[in-house]
Symmetry: D2
């Protein structure tokens, strides 16, 4: 690495890229990036140029010797990379809109990670990721693959199980968001908070929470279950938990738990958005449009503050933090998606989990959890079953397995609904699912 | 046991008792019962006398030296018993009707084992079973407790975890019914069929199926997933599985899986019954009434054939078969609920599972399963989480835990609904749930 | 199998074969063997003919329609076989003599299964077994491989790990011998005894023991630890256990435990035999010579009673019993070497263990043990480590791994001794260990 | 803790104490100790005063506001302690001499941790530690117990299993010594080395080794197995490993592995020392005598350099480093003895292991290992079996269990030798083993 660090970002035309650039600039002292390659596909070319030029202006302003390259040639970019980050979206936001809207037609939540939407996002994404893995194996076998593409848990599982790449970390902004939320609840600085995370991506629990290393879990559970408290936390959907549930669960939930512990309420809420044409994809699409208008401004040379409203806050910061800790062998604790290796007893040792890890140059090392608390063990196992069947369907293009994946998903829980949804979604996403439409050779 | 075998049946006034008697008479050569004590509580006294007298007539007809005793004094009965069977129903069928009807008001299935109905049946039953366990410990510590009282899995879990009784077997007629169904499908005699069972009570799967020891699983899966087949099996609800689901699952389901893999369809179906006042409890209540009318006939000295329509077919036969195998150290294979002891890898070694076992005088010994197939691991773990939280709520009377149990149950999946249902059901079953209504002492 | 059962015995020229024939004749009603192929290699041709002709005379006397074939062509024999039994000895008894004598020169027990002798027997045997497995895969993929060749545990491990054959059972006469011994100690018929076996081949423990299904373990432990008892059991070496050890261990040992729990005494004893030229191989060689003289007698048409002194009693009977139970799907309990599948918690699920199993047409199904008792867990794990490193050395021909295998073996426990013994034994067995003497190609 | 930190050192009269004092002085900025209580028993009073006065002079010289208290009243000292360190030796070095010499009479290594010496040190120490635990529970329930008393693994196991104290960490200087050794071998600063440790106390392996986070394991294994290398590492006994063993093991050994992988050579070596009256205890006794002469010098106010020859180097430094990391919630990686919690798959989750942990204010959190490499799994399990049987013998005073513990110990491996050694050692240590000499009451 004497030549300096080479980073390749696949899906470089994403609206998130300015945050990533800001992160690299901010941490340059620790993480001296020399080359940053932003890669995208033909249909993302225009966005790549807009955001890539902003990236170049930001770097120029910083005065740092970082070379930003824009390319549609993934293989050229990957050569000798040190880190590869993936943040692409097969089918763009239009596909996400279908992921969300089609299930809702059947009264089922789309949920772009662990629901039907997540299944189809996985079916579209996993073959591409495995293709990237083959390129990495050939062109930069020592590189770390840092995946933020959702469904991050299913993708990490698929890479561990169906590729030769072992140096993969799946990254999510949910845990960092939970820490921020607790910091705010307790009115202490984020840096003083640590949570013991365990579970799966978008299905992660906080098993304990500390301020300056001292457990404040009892206090936090009390605060979270006190409806009279003015800081009574509303989650992503603006719905609070029943106090009894919070107390008896005795663990911190993540925002995505709303889909599984408030299924009916969430369906009702989403159906309203559906009617209004305001599902998340549609909202984000509008936001993105506005962002790219901003990015075009040749005088803009900072990350525009409007980006923070995009959602996915902390994502890029988390990514740069992770890369820095790997590069510097920092040994700090970060929650990431990695191979379980016995950290959670009831999940297979070779499966992906999202768990607090020590981050070293040799990658993340999970801290042993023992087993998950009894009440949460079931749902975590269920989502792991779903992720594995879904990953298998993605790799094989097996129609029956896709239906099975949805049937065992708690948001669907019906073989008949599963089949209807799979049929309609397969058709809708046909162009991105060649593995399901192989022509039989004579 | 030189004195001959003493069997005590708690809930002896049940309409099932004639089947049990028939079983004891039929297997007398192998299982020489000398004393059969039918025990019931004050409110079941009338039924005990009706069915007890029929039992006496049946024994008399057989000419066997079995002494049938009827009593309301459980402790007198238990003294030096060899086997204790439990088939009682706290709150009788009226309670079951509430278990089924109240959840349906909220659009949720009652499901008397692994749903809200099962939770409340467990809350009523577990304290009584633990009380019986204390009596057994004192009065007949060498006895085997054969429990058929539902929810049999939760009850077995509770006994293993909260009593000193280790000699408990939970028994269910579902596996035997699955074997019968497969025998019919293949048109072979039941005795030639063997299924490798694994899972939990009412959540059990057939992982392989054999005719004369040769696996016919592929053939069975094909038959079960062929909708054009005239023998295409309808399950309890008259609804068939989607062929793709059956093929991809590649395991035999039990009838109760309809609740979890066809949740919406089952809710719709049950809501119709609810409107008509024809939930299962209501249907059974009518059947029981007719049965007891028959039982009263002083000329009746056989099990009336109408009993078979009662549902719960094979239950008593399974029970007598199990008792016989324990008594004679037969070493045959039977599916029962017992301590896991490592048979299923992802379930704790000290939890109850329903699994194929060798039946010896030393009790059932589970055959190692390894781990459950990936697609079913999640739902089984979920129901185990539910059973454990429910059992803890039953023992402690902890209101929050009761809400947690329902929230994590896939039929409810909402903390808000859980709370509403718990509140209404606690009130409805108040008389049988003293642990939730302890008065605080001054 | 309409054509009748075809059995192939590899190493058919073994002195044990008459016992096998006797077994097939005795159980013909249950196990109608039509073809029995005795296979041997060129250097065993003479013995094959002698024992093969005796076999033919025995069959003739029985009047049964069993066809006995003698051949040196293994592949011809294997075609469409139903069962393949392996009882060959690479290098014959001369090799065993070296296995025993060379280690003793260094003051170390040879021990032909789990010691240095076992390592070298494994190194010679495993490549041949894997070769047979490849033939089976091609010529009779549905056949069951019943291996009695020692070291049976290491061989079973190697087949499970390094071949595609899954239908293998390793068989040993030690457990049946323990049952016989206990039957004698208690003066009850063997058929009334059952032992819960768990461990590894020649490292198996009896965790409980029953008469007619009732545990008599306490009584047996008392008897075994009472030195004043006239039936105080001497084991293979004529040495009794210290009573305190027996009581505290609270499990039945097998004769081979003497090597590990009386190491020094056994070394001293064997060194005396070594000096006298009376190691086991030498004794057996003489016995075999005498047996083959008997076998040559053209009037002999029964198994000569002298065979029982050969050692290995019950071996062939155990084999025929096992084959019969598989063929008839009997479902009885037999201790065999098979894949663990979770039966013993601290041993990997995919490793071979020796454990009580239900024997079905689908093969042996281990009964769950949970975990081994604390005091024995270590030694069992140690021998499993040894077996696995040894099997790897056998497959790869890796010299360093052979030294590692012996260093971690408790009978050696020295890297220096390990190297010396490996060096001398590699040279002595050179002709049978081609994998260690590969010429490097230019 | 606003009052400042209170530390209690039991066995304060140890010759190691000056190193501890030096550590507290050196790290005062991070770890502001206000009160240090040195506790000893009546027979150690003189040494306590000598070393205690040196401690006071050292503190005085430092100018820090640390109050050093000397006392024989353990309970007074423990009141409200924050950290309790234990470094006592029941029976002093005379007992250790017996631990070493008596087994050698029988040709068996004494080995003061995992051999017969360790058994008897455990039998003497565990009841005292459990007594201290009861005091801690009452007098300072929030305190961390930092145990350096050997056998540290067995003691930690006993505390976890037989006391209510969960806040215990067992500490050893072996891992830090391995890091130092590797640093020297590679000629890099110790701070740049990190080893992934896993195993048990004095039975710990280095599974990987890093310089600045980059694995250098292959290089280290090559260096360690190259006998021509001038830095070819000799271990504690001055004996090198066979290169083939080192390569095939592919893990770093600790010095104590000599006893198990070079047993015969070590016995021979120790027997020479035995003859010369130069066993380790005897050597240390002489060293201690000289040290205490130095300590008496009223002008001495630093740790005398001669202490470093005492052995046990880095012990106190490791202790102060650990206490500091707990106190400051540092989150650095240190190898300690703690509850396994799933970090090593084949060891029970509730047993003590020695493994790399993150050190937080909430204690050490083990990093998941998955499972140990196949070749080392056996020996680690064996020593765990030994530790558990030994701990049970210590708590119950069960003579049979003491014999069992030694029989299953690989250094003894004979029930007869075990009994002889136990008998002679019980008698020799009679005064310190009241649990084995309980008078039966009339």
């Amino acid at each position: 690495m004497t030549k300096g660090i080479k980073i390749v970002t696949i899906g470089g035309g994403s609206s998130y890229t300015p945050e990533l650039i800001e992160g690299f600039i901010k941490r340059y002292d620790e993480l001296p990036v020399r080359e940053l390659w932003l890669v995208d596909v033909e249909e993302g070319k225009e966005k790549l140029e807009i955001v890539g030029n902003l990236a170049k202006r930001m770097v120029k302003k910083s005065g740092l010797p970082i070379n930003v390259h824009l390319t549609l040639d993934r293989r050229e970019a990957l050569k000798d990379a040190d880190f590869v980050t993936t943040q692409f979206r097969v089918g763009l936001l239009d596909a996400r809109a279908k992921d969300e809207r089609i299930p809702l037609k059947y009264g089922v939540l789309g949920q772009e990670t662990n629901g039907p939407g997540g299944l189809f996002k996985g079916l579209r994404t996993i073959p591409v990721i495995l293709d990237i893995c083959r390129d990495i194996e050939e062109l930069c076998p020592e590189a770390w693959l840092i995946n933020f593409t959702n469904p991050a848990g299913m993708v990490t599982e698929a890479v561990l199980r169906y590729s030769n790449i072992k140096k993969i970390v799946g990254l999510c902004n949910v845990p960092i968001g939970m820490e921020m939320g607790i910091a705010k609840l307790l009115d202490v600085d984020h840096s003083r908070i640590r949570i013991d995370f365990a579970g799966l991506n978008h299905m992660v629990y906080g098993l304990d929470v500390y301020v300056d290393g001292v457990s404040v879990k009892d206090q936090v559970i009390d605060l979270l279950s006190d409806p009279t408290n003015s800081s009574f936390v509303k989650n992503v959907a603006g719905l609070g938990w029943e106090p009894e549930f919070t107390k008896a669960l005795n663990a911190l939930t993540c925002p995505y738990h709303m889909y599984y512990y408030k299924t009916r309420e969430m369906v009702e809420k989403e159906l309203i958005n559906y009617e209004k044409g305001e599902t998340r994809a549609e909202v984000v699409k509008q936001l993105e449009k506005e962002l790219f208008e901003l990015y075009k401004d040749p005088n803009l040379d900072i990350k525009p503050p409007q980006l923070e409203q995009r959602g996915g806050a902390y994502y890029s910061d988390a990514a740069v933090r992770l890369i820095t800790s790997i590069y510097t062998d920092k040994g700090d604790i970060q929650p990431v998606n990695t191979i379980n290796n016995g950290a959670i007893a009831s999940i297979p040792a070779d499966s992906a989990v999202e768990v607090s890890c020590i981050i070293t140059k040799d990658g993340p090392k999970p801290i042993s959890v023992g087993d998950l608390p009894v009440p949460v063990r079931g749902l975590v196992q269920t989502i792991k079953s779903f992720e594995r069947v879904a990953a298998e369907a993605a790799v094989t293009g097996d129609y029956d397995k896709a239906i099975l994946a949805l049937t065992i998903n708690p948001l669907v829980a019906s073989d008949k609904l599963a089949k209807q949804i799979v049929d309609e979604m397969l058709e809708a996403h046909k162009d991105y699912l060649p593995q399901f439409f192989k022509t039989v050779q004579a």
